[in-house]
Amino acid sequence: MTGEVAVLGAGMHPWGKWGRNFVEYGVAAARAALTDAGLDWRDIGSIIGADTVRGGYPGYVAGATFAKALGWQGARVTSVYAACASGAQAVDAARAQILSGLAEVVLVVGADAAPKGFFRPAGGDRPDDPDWLRFRVLGATNPVYFGLYACRRMAVHGDTPGDFAQVKVKNAAMGALNPKARYRRRVTAEEVAASAVVADPLRLLDICATSDGGAAVVLSSMEFARRHGHADPVRIRAVSTVTPRYPNTVLDLPDIATDSAVAVDPPAETFRTSIARAAYEEAGVGPEDLSLAEVYDLSTALELQWYEDLGLCGEGEGVKLLRDGATALGGRIPVNASGGLASFGEAVPAQAIAQVCELAWQLRGEAGDRQVEGARVGISANQGLFGHGSAVIAVR
């Protein structure tokens, strides 16, 4: 076992479309996490920022940006970028510093101010950049890829648009109970079916919005936690940041083609499956031990895929698990008790940290109306553009 780090505090700025600078959301989240931890900002030895590409240089150097906004106090600084997985990489960097003894207590912050409409690449002609090329040559927005995955599931597993809508219905019901969520209204399957098609077979309410938001956690060594009166803190037991294995034969954002399997057979497990397996192995637990999971439901269909990739059910059995109610509140393994991206919308560098916040609150029994009874072990999972795996396992 690698060793555990304590989650002393968690904080979020509510998700929404507030139209303000990302720094404001990050600082609000950081202050909330520090208060939750019972610590002063000046107690923090290291700050790690998950970067946003939308804030110009201050976004690319988010760690220093947040440190300055909180007031320079000399802390060690790190900034990391891994697209949607930035937050998990920030948590991983914090853990590495703590376990190696470089820092005792670390503040991890991510925040974003998202534009209206589709995400698009940064400006300028960049014909060597796959993310630029897929827009220029194909007009392939993110929902196009979500549509491809959904259509593939329908053909291979027999999923239907009605099944996908039930994921939204479930997540909206849980998001309605979360004061930090952007969308806090229950949604019916009829409303999903009546929303406009964006990328066939997916409709507007199948696809997550883009949001403003900020999330932060305070992590420390177990020894620091004990010294500061946290006798039984939530612990992070695993952080998976794996890359794919060649050949990666599932078409992934932002690629125009897969690897070729002509010289080497594809690995037995897909990339997403390997993300979860690495986390389980590191934590010494399996899917049967989980109390809850927070997964990256960029689309409703993708949530079903995560059920299978996390081993919550067999391949192709995601819809059955959903229909049985296993992934709803009160079910065997609630998924996205926070409401998920369906209720939050994506604030890229904050999102994976927000997942860890939800795990922390659930494991402490402080999740209010959306509390998963007796939660002991939780996993968060996500996948960042360009081959960034991300999963965190927290226990109490």
Partner: protein, 148 residues
């Protein structure tokens, strides 16, 4: 004034009519195929690295999945803002010989209603957009049962 026909990306496809092909590269050491073309380093971690030479990809493949863009994609995609947006189908195609999947736009007039996973499609030359001097060319996928 006639426009110059220019590929939207140089070196990704070539040829006219029946001879039109996507162009990839193949590693001389391990025979791995790359599209978009990789001209510098073989990506197979078990390969010591061989010379990468251009290779035309199979003309026909089978639909791995498909979808469409019901809303106008943002820049750098180029479309005429004066015209209403027509949904554009996109097809991910599995090439059996190369054992890879290549995404592309469907030929004009092909909609998601015309498509099914597993259906045979072929690559055909297409036009992405035109400006005053240039016709920007691309590749399209078209069901083999359909004639232009």
């Amino acid at each position: 004034m006639s426009r110059t026909r220019t590929p939207v990306v140089a070196g990704w496809f070539a040829g006219e009519g029946e001879d039109f092909r996507l162009l990839g590269t193949r590693c001389a050491a391990c025979s791995s195929v790359f599209f978009p073309r990789e001209d510098h380093h073989c990506h197979n971690p078990a390969c010591g690295g061989g010379e990468l030479t251009q290779v035309p990809l199979s003309r026909r493949g089978r639909v791995w999945s498909y979808t469409d863009s019901r809303y106008r994609p943002p820049s750098p995609y180029v479309s005429d803002p004066e015209l209403s947006w027509e949904p554009c189908a996109l097809i991910a195609v599995e090439l059996q010989a190369e054992r890879l999947v290549v995404l592309g736009q469907a030929a004009p007039g092909v909609t998601v209603a015309d498509l099914a996973v597993g259906m045979e499609v072929e690559v055909v030359p297409g036009v992405l957009h035109e400006d005053a001097e240039t016709t920007w060319t691309t590749w399209h996928w078209r069901p083999t049962g359909v004639k232009a």
